[in-house]
């Protein structure tokens, strides 16, 4: 598991005492951290039974559900924050899920690996093959990541879906912190967005 620096940003953005829905909560470690350190009331959504058991073991409440099925169990504005960290690229219809997220939550926090990062461009441009790295260890034919996007792709989609971007943060390699801020689409390894439905 790579070091998930995006989670530090998400952690700081989640308001103290808020209600949080964590889509794809995995073993619940991050949601538990938010409960402990930010006093949130958390609910997890997780499809994998073993992950779900680990999250339940931590005292969390978890719903076993496929995010792709539409998250119909949650009424509008049910949560202060709906978060989706490093799972956007695994969804069948990312745009549908994003729209649901900003309905269910007063705001949503999304993080994803940036496929526009220079390493990916170099790999694809020079070698002519889909990038494989420590952060993206899967081959194209056998990857859960079926919908990679770039920082610019994501922002274009938000605009199309009438979703407002409240805040953006980037995660970059240690030598590229400034570059990542200046040219995130090339130098950010992952991006974190705080979004909400337009006009809210």
């Amino acid at each position: 598991m790579m070091n998930r620096l995006d989670l530090n940003t998400v952690h700081d953005w989640v308001p103290r005492g808020s209600s949080v829905l964590d889509l794809g909560c995995g073993d619940g470690a991050f949601l538990q951290r938010l409960c402990d350190e930010r006093d949130v009331v958390g609910v997890g959504v997780e499809i994998d039974a073993n992950n779900l058991i680990s999250a339940v073991e931590k005292g969390l409440n978890v719903i076993q559900e496929d995010i792709n099925d539409g998250l119909h169990c949650f009424p509008a504005h049910r949560f202060d924050v709906v978060m989706l960290t490093h799972a956007l690229q695994e969804l069948t219809h990312p745009h549908v899920t994003l729209e649901r997220m900003v309905q269910i939550g007063k705001q949503a926090i999304v993080s994803f690996p940036n496929f526009g990062h220079w390493f990916c461009r170099l790999h694809l441009g020079l070698r002519g093959r889909m990038p494989v790295s420590r952060a993206m260890p899967h081959h194209w034919y056998d990857t859960p990541n079926i919908h990679f996007c770039t920082v610019r792709d994501f922002e274009a989609l938000c605009s199309e879906l009438n979703i407002d971007i409240i805040e953006r943060a980037t995660v970059s390699g240690p030598a590229q912190k400034i570059l990542g801020k200046l040219w995130p689409n090339i130098f950010a390894t992952s991006a974190v967005y705080r979004i909400r439905r337009s006009g809210q």
Binding site: A49, L52, I53, V56, N61, V62, I63, Q64, C73, R78
Partner: protein, 380 residues
Amino acid sequence: MSGALSSQSVGVITPQVVRFDAPFQFSNGATLDQHELIFETYGELNAAATNAVLICHALSGSHHAAGVHDATEQRPGWWDLVIGPGKPIDTNRLFVVCSNNLGGCDGSTGPNTLMPSSNTPWGSQFPQPQVRDWVRSQKLLAEHLGISRWAAVVGGSLGGMQALQWAVDFPDWVEHCVALASAPGLTAQNIAFNEIARHAILSDPDFRGGDYLAQETLPARGVALARMVGHLTYMSADGMSDRFGRELREESFAPDGNQERVFQVESYLRHQGARFSTRFDANTYVLMTRALDLFDLAEGYPDLASALSEAEANFLLLSFSSDWRFAPQRSIEIRDALMATGKAVTHANIETDNGHDAFLLPNPIYERLLAEWMQRVGPS
């Protein structure tokens, strides 16, 4: 491993009986002047009475949920799988109570016990109980035991309905509510299956309008048929294929070739029916299935979410993928109603071929999940 010899068994258990002399009124207005409940307990109630867990039984269950009645008993209680020291419902930490429902046939006042006035069995005269009547009767038992709040109320199927009704009717009594393979009310298909079962019993000439004990008959054929239909619906098609396939019983390979060929599944159903018909009271079967049909958690409320908004409990709902009698969708209805009203709920749908019976059968994911979730029940 279960049974008396296992270190994870509650061991040899002696049932207890409590008699209530105050009148008990059913929802339909009928009254018992006095009644008895038979129950078992496992583990120790702590001084503050904060570790009590109520187990509610399903249609054919009883107060005998765990352990054995004597060292020679072959089959432990019906939920020995999960109740015991070190098991998911851990009797090292928790005080577990299970009673036979009013109207049952295992020792609580019911159609097979004697009417105080005439010294004949209640038979057809026994009042129709409903789920909420059982809840009130279990509350009397709790008060008798010095319990004023359950750390958890737990049940599967009809037992899950009782757990849910507890959480709605007595919110400050229920800290945690566990409803497995349950539903907020039966579907038309489910009521239809119950009606077939009842019809089998009621049309048995030996049923005698319910007064077979007084007339010294036994509607064994009707009860057996009812059980065969019921049992069939508790299994899944895949589970049955795996277990029985088209296998024939060995005796049916007789060399003379004249013997009837009997499939394993036939033999199994006949055995289940026959065993049940000598163990279970026909009137109780009719009353229990009617109670199932009548159950509607939303009754008296605009909708299910309004009913559940009364509850203060933290909920665990488990459904089982191949359960078509109490399908996963029914648990999802409860889950969504709880979610809509902001209640704390965990729901998982366990992958299994065991159908509705899955909540009674071994399954590593199910047992681990229940065990981990139960860690939050009782004093830490």
